[in-house]
């Protein structure tokens, strides 16, 4: 059973609007296909980590990438559910450009019976010039997603 576009969009929209932390960051859904998801966080004064430069805090990028990983695993595993994040490694290549929206993308590139492996990156314009890259592993919950459930 593969997931259709309408279901993907519904899952993604719910992930950015019904998750309190995503809503608090004003996160927005960009696009998604099975196993791949793009989300974005607009620049905001109160999310800055270094007031001398106006650069977004690393924590904002962490949360964006974690959420993208959730979207990628959810669309890849559907109707099964991804569950706990086992670990998340983030490498910071450069500061985010001040006053620019940051886009995150995650790809679930391998699924075993119990684990989903995901890579992710954050950037402004060009994925080849990343702010940060990430690698994560998720436990797979064997149960099917209940109707209307979010990630």
């Amino acid at each position: 059973m593969t997931i259709d576009d309408q279901t993907i969009r519904a899952i993604a929209e719910r992930m950015v609007t019904s998750t309190p932390q995503a809503a608090a960051l004003n996160m927005r859904f960009v696009s998604a296909t099975p196993g791949e998801g793009f989300l974005a966080v607009p620049w905001r004064e109160d999310l800055v980590g270094d007031p001398a430069t106006g650069v977004l805090a690393g924590g904002v990028v962490t949360t964006l990438l974690d959420h993208c990983c959730g979207l990628a695993t959810t669309t890849r595993l559907w109707p099964l559910m991804g569950s706990a994040t086992l670990d998340l490694r983030i490498d910071y290549m450069r500061p985010a450009i001040p006053r620019r929206e940051v886009i995150g993308v995650a790809r679930c590139y391998k699924v075993t019976r119990s684990i989903a492996f995901v890579r992710a990156a954050a950037f402004e314009d060009d994925e080849a010039d990343p702010i940060a890259t990430a690698q994560a592993a998720f436990m797979i919950n064997g149960q099917a997603a209940p109707a209307g459930a979010s990630a």
Partner: protein
């Protein structure tokens, strides 16, 4: 000495907008810092449990490391994160989260820091972080290498 530490910490915390967005505070015993993240509904990532967002856990652990490093180098620019690995051990429940950073090594340019976060019992951590941080004054400050 501890008053100076407390002033530095207060200045650091007040100066970072994202720290205020999280609602993070800290307490000092001498130079030992405990970071505190009181529960707030906007930190939730899963409303069904409810559990703190994994990104918030990672962000709080990273900020704890940066604040601990900031205490050691009050006049320098803030340290920059090179990489972090976050282990998720238990769900972060809807209550206060605490964290302490252990600076394992301070080199000339890079610091290795371990951080653990817990809720009810320190022996049952919710999440842990290992990270490398680039110290200020270590050559080209725009690049982590």
């Amino acid at each position: 000495m501890s008053a100076t530490h407390a002033e530095r910490l207060e200045r650091l915390i007040q100066s970072i907008p994202y720290v205020r967005f999280l609602g993070m505070t800290a307490e000092l015993a001498g130079d030992e810092m405990t970071a505190i993240l009181p529960f707030s509904p906007h930190l939730v990532g899963n409303i069904n449990i409810p559990a703190l967002h994994g990104g918030v856990l990672g962000a709080f652990l990273e900020m704890t490391a940066l604040c601990q490093l900031g205490l050691r180098d009050p006049n320098g620019r803030p340290a920059k994160t090179i990489d972090v690995t976050v282990e998720y051990l238990r769900p972060g429940r809807a209550q206060t989260l605490y964290a302490r950073a252990d600076v394992r090594k301070i080199g000339r340019r890079v610091a290795n820091v371990h951080v653990e976060a817990w809720q009810d019992h320190r022996a049952a951590p919710v999440a842990a972080l290992r990270g490398h941080f680039l110290l200020s004054g270590g050559g080209d400050s725009s690049k982590p290498a």
